[in-house]
Symmetry: C2
Subunit: 512 residues, 2 copies
């Protein structure tokens, strides 16, 4: 079965969820998402689960900073208030050149990222560091034009939602903050996960005078144009299943045709609704396909070796568990019965779900969908052999048409690599950059778009075989495996070395 | 005598002229300037002299490329055609990875810069290089909104005239050009003088993936905020006179009060008009003061050791000649008579001028004045002791008020250093940048805002004691002194080493 042309929002859905999977409490933005069925920013079917998670103990002040809407022109535009969270509790202050840790807010409510980036808060005391979490424009409370409704009204109001503007926001904010605290000499270290990790590494490249280094976790900065093969993402998800069991992989691969032919029968949709315990009668086979595909992709991202509750409460090695259900269903079980047993590990591990809600309005307007329709064009195909998903060839024309229908905007698929590079990343970074950690877990399908090899002495790839999506940025737990403890220790050592270099250099005064 | 508050256009006038001083034929922009008394882009009193100069033999094709007006947003704005000059005559082509030499067009007609940047054309053949001269937006033929009148109408239409947009123009153009020629692997080397040199060095910093190196000649990238002392520029001009003769310096320093008291007498302005052989009766003493001040500053910029015809036909060591006239006038000559004799070396070396035209409408709207009122805030004061000019303290409030009156725009004095750095330039470039030549001649008052010390193995300062404003970029002549021949040879060697490094690296393929 050929996959119907996915829309840009289909393709990015997994990314959006990837970066928000750690959310532990309903943030205002999440609440908006949840209450508005037309928004796909945080798919409603996941958001409700987040409030079970534990909150790390973090304390901060919430402040606001007035920003220009377009840093790169002098157009008369309304300004907006950027929210930022700040803690100076452990900061040793400007006279001792206390470091400033800045998390590059990504596509969501910043309080939510702060709550789910425990690593930064945990290490701040030993560094005597200030912690700052600036919010990304157009998300959370940092929306222009007074409110989200106005800001998201159309392509004109949305047009300043770009990565470059966000980086300029961070740079202006940090520069002002330092000036006001007489902390111009204090070194800034950047952190970020997923899209936030992309921002952190790009900011280190574009604003080396603002920050001395960046920890970019699970940042797929190479997932553009043809830099990595278009089939990488779905191949990596599929490999995650194949390595557990080739029969599991095959069952899933066969299931799409079966689903299609079942759905085309008389009463087929009704029958599938029953088989999959859906709360509402299926309106289209695609809705069910999307629901299954999403689950497989999320499973690959959170395929951690110990139980977790990121997107869903899940056992350790969740793909192993899913495949075990698919493979070990009674011999007489049909393919779809096996699939249902498997998928229930993801959607109903606690066994408390009576029926499943599908997200059947995937084209709502939200920030990330806009970004995916403008700059963040990440082509993805699903191949005939190595992918267990329905085959699909990325087609830029249909992608573009969909963006025009959704937002009235034309994507610029080559802009990100023009602005930030990518094709010649090794040469560029080797000769130019310094002090960046690219951390990736190989189980994470986004790792395919990441930097996986050391580039120079100070541009380091930390790759963990058993790691998944930016786990290193989360608060430590008693269940952390040794490799994760070691990875974080390495990160701390690298950051220390950047700071030591900085302090040594600053004994010397520059005479022009 | 205290200098009256100069407007931003006063302060930048010398810069504007500095970068255009090599113009050899009236370009369209120059012609516009010359015919429109309200434009100060190229002061009318100089433009007329340019068409005497020899044209270097250069051949190129003129092409156009459609650009977005705002690269950093998705606003629906009219696109514009960017002009670029291109020569592939000596290019060895994409299979041999022939280099691409790109001159970063600055604030003027690009044909004019092409004609006055002979160095790039001269060295292209030995490198087998393509040569590209893209024009800076809002100058020459590359104006948006259909024509210059519309583009320069008001702050709204002008608002996209910024350095960052210009750099993005260059990057998008180069990327497209390379793609169309299947020349993605061909290394790009940037060139630029004065503001164009600033652009070249900033582009190397911001777009290291686009260009492998930059020759930034006479680029005062540190002339912002408080990075260099505000009195640097006028002190350097003054030093140029003092080192020739302290009595000359003193005569000029005393002349301002004399001028003022003469001007305040009955018929004083008429008397001064006669003494200085002006074509039209003086309306204000300031016009005469500006005229004299400009001449001294230009003299410092073009204080070359051999005869030249950049701004004006001038003898070698022109300041020495001026001072010799000032000092050796008959003993009984008054201060103002001495000043007139001296200044005539600059304004009338050929002896053919019957009377002098002053530029008495300095507040015309033009591109560089806009840039000076928005991003390019270069604070300059004239001190009590070390400067021979009237004392003046840079006052940002009045500067801002003047910009508001002239353009209805508010300057952003800290933006350039936020976007491009500056304060910590050594540390930033040492740890981050590579392959930049900062060339400066110490006689050039703009050298005070330049990078004058080597920063790393590949970020090199080439400083010439007897050099002035970006002489190295001009075509060679038989009169070139040995140090200039050597400087150019060093530049060629450095560019060769960048290219060799690039070719060596590209034998290895990057495996992610």
């Amino acid at each position: 079965m050929a996959k119907p042309n996915p829309s840009p929002s289909d393709l990015v859905l997994i990314f959006v969820v990837a970066v928000i999977f750690g959310a532990s409490s309903p943030s205002p933005a999440a609440a908006r998402s949840s209450s508005s069925p037309s928004s796909r920013w945080a798919p409603p079917r996941f958001v409700g689960k987040f409030n079970k998670l534990q909150q790390p103990q973090i304390r901060y002040e919430t402040r606001y900073f007035e920003q220009r809407l377009d840093h790169f022109s002098f157009s008369e535009l309304p300004r907006f208030r950027q929210r930022y969270l700040i803690s100076t509790e452990h900061w040793v202050g400007p006279t001792r050149l206390g470091p400033i840790f800045v998390y590059c807010g990504n596509e969501g409510d910043i309080a939510w990222f702060a709550a789910n980036t425990g690593f930064v808060w945990e290490i701040a005391p030993q560094f005597g560091a200030m912690v700052v979490f600036p919010e990304h424009r157009y998300y959370g409370e940092s929306v222009p034009y007074g409110n989200g409704e106005e800001a998201y009204k159309n392509a004109t109001t949305l047009s300043y939602l770009t990565a470059e503007q966000a980086l300029a926001d961070f740079s202006v904010l940090i520069t002002n903050l330092k000036k006001n605290l007489s902390a111009e000499g204090c070194p800034v270290v950047l952190f970020g996960g997923s899209y936030g990790g992309m921002l952190a590494s790009w900011m280190r490249l574009k604003y080396p005078h603002i920050a001395i280094g960046a920890l970019a976790s699970s940042a797929p900065i190479l997932q553009f144009e043809d830099i990595v093969p278009v089939e990488t993402f779905y191949d990596l998800v599929s490999n995650g299943f194949k390595r557990e069991s080739s029969s599991c992989f095959n069952t899933i691969k066969q299931s799409w045709d079966v689903l299609l032919s079942e759905g085309q029968k008389n009463d087929g949709l009704l029958q599938l609704t029953k088989s999959f315990h859906l709360c509402r009668t299926l309106r289209s086979i695609d809705d069910l396909t999307d629901w299954l595909e999403s689950a497989y992709s999320y499973l690959a991202m959170v395929n951690y070796p110990y139980p977790s509750e990121f997107i869903m409460p899940l056992p350790g090695h969740p793909i192993r568990e899913v495949c075990s259900k698919i493979d070990r269903s009674p011999v007489e079980a049909s393919i779809l019965e096996r699939i249902f047993e498997g998928i229930s590990v993801f959607y109903n591990y606690t066994g408390k779900v009576d029926c499943f809600q599908l997200d059947d309005d995937p084209h709502g307007m939200d920030g990330w969908n806009w970004q995916a329709c403008t700059e963040m064009i990440m082509p993805m195909s699903s191949g005939r052999d190595s992918s267990m998903f329905p085959t699909y060839d990325f087609n830029f024309s249909s992608y573009q048409e969909q963006c025009w229908r959704d937002f009235g905007v034309k994507p610029r698929p080559r802009w990100i690599t023009t602005e930030f590079g990518g094709h010649d990343i090794k040469a560029t970074l080797q000769n130019f950059g310094s002090n960046i950690i690219f951390s990736n877990g190989l189980l994470d399908p986004w790792s395919g778009g990441g930097v996986l090899k050391n580039i120079s002495k100070s541009i380091v790839a930390l790759v963990t075989d058993e790691g998944a999506h930016h786990l290193d940025l989360r608060a430590s737990t008693n269940e952390d495996p040794e490799w994760l403890v070691e990875q974080r220790a390495t990160e701390i050592e690298l950051i220390k070395s950047w700071l030591n270099d900085y302090y040594q250099e600053n004994k010397a005064v520059f005479e022009m």
